[in-house]
Symmetry: C2
Subunit: 269 residues, 2 copies
């Protein structure tokens, strides 16, 4: 049966109740679905409140990621797997959807490789970090997810993932969602955030790019700013691995998933 994977960011302007209502309606109509959520903004707040403020590093290839020492990993798990995962599950349960919230560590749903030596720049200085728990998803446990779906449970997934040694690793949620969509040959991967889609002149919302042909996805990387870079990279990976289409759409509006499926946002196909 056809599958839709939905990725929701952790931004404060996301319309969580609208996402839940829309997903619940699609689910109750019989649509096979998996939801993947983030939580970066809340993690930053809790880390500040607990006296362990967030730090960001830039990789040699120019990607920005969270410095994830052991204490940061714990705070990350408290927010992603505790506060936010259970918030989503509770809202789905209240909407009559029997959701099951899992991290990528559980059952090794997101299995990958830990970067044991992370070469980064912090404020321009080059460093090699060895006590960092960051990694990349290489494999998705479709067996466990299929088992849940076949029994009527909606999987609600979140980082971290598991390294091949079973360590928790901070993995990028957008790229993890892209891997889930690819593993299930999903008909669509819907990526909701606090912008209407990919913008030609960020942050000018009127410069929305409506459609990107699959073959030209790489060329559009130039328009991706900051966090959008990994989203576009995940999208390019997903379409190249057989996902029907990837949609970047607005998560602040009513019926955000249905609108995206009906053509809103940036469609990559």
């Amino acid at each position: 049966m056809s599958m839709i994977v939905i990725k929701v960011g952790g931004g404060k302007s996301l319309n969580v109740d609208a996402v839940v209502a829309d997903v619940a309606r699609l689910w109750q109509e019989g649509q096979r679905l998996i939801l993947v959520h983030g939580g970066a903004e809340t993690t930053n707040e809790v880390a500040e409140a607990l006296g362990h403020p967030p730090q960001f590093v830039t990789s040699e290839s120019g990607y920005v990621s969270r410095r994830t020492d052991r204490r940061t990993l714990e705070i990350f798990e408290m927010v992603y797997c505790g506060l936010l995962n259970k918030m989503w599950v509770e809202k789905f349960q209240q909407a009559g959807v029997n959701a099951v919230g899992l991290s990528g560590l559980d059952g090794r749903i997101f299995q990958g490789r830990r970067k044991e030596r992370l070469r980064v720049r912090i404020n321009g200085r080059r460093l090699v970090l060895r006590d960092d728990w960051t990694g990349t998803v290489e494999q998705v446990n479709t067996e466990l997810l299929g088992l849940l779906l076949d029994s009527g449970y909606l999987p609600v997934l979140t980082p971290p993932g598991a390294s091949d040694k079973g360590e928790a690793i901070n993995v990028d949620g957008d790229r993890a969602a892209a891997q889930v969509a690819a593993a299930f040959h999903a008909q669509a991967l819907v990526i909701l955030s606090d912008v209407p889609g990919l913008l030609r002149d960020f942050p000018d919302e009127s410069s929305l790019i409506r459609e990107i042909p699959r073959a030209k996805a790489d060329d559009f990387m130039q328009f991706a700013q900051g966090r959008m870079k990994k989203k576009v990279m995940g999208a390019v990976e997903a379409v190249s691995q057989g996902v029907g289409r990837v949609i970047f759409a607005d998560g602040r509006v009513e019926s955000p998933v249905s609108r995206a499926l009906a053509g809103a946002g940036t469609q990559i196909r």
Copy 2:
């Protein structure tokens, strides 16, 4: 196949690595197992650090429980479902056991009733609380747990549970574990904490009660102090519902589960 349910407290003196090694060995020998964990002590610390210190209330029947307003419920979920549940899962994954960590809210594993009006005493004053998320487990989703076990996944469970309306509710971990053991007609429920078992003269560890006949379990309630009260209540419920035996044993030692199964601690049968 015979089932063992293990409940571990959240106390700092619990020997977590010894529990993991012992459970992993039993699991790899083919023993069907479910682990349920707590987290009260760490929740108190995090609540203090976040400026929302814990408060405890006494019910009309004399039981002490955590005042669970909405902010407390969030902190509770951060610690139980985030920090501690993922700590247990990570340690099991590193020990080669494919653990899946779930709260009682997920798939409504612990379904129960929210106490919409909680009659309590706080510092001697009588109050009725209406904004409290506390409840009691009435039903266990054995279908979902059986599905995971049959596919080779070790369930690692933790409160909260789900009310019939899908709200998250703070449920007692010991009594939830007793309900899981009863639902599976487990051969044993092993309750590990930071004492050697039920003590006739708490905290004198030499006053350990070695055995309690099933029929006399109620009489031993008089020896239960503070937190132990709910543990004994859970044990009485479990044996009366067909669990082979309930063991209160020391979680601070090496091979704590094997020792308990071999006769250590307080055996209720």
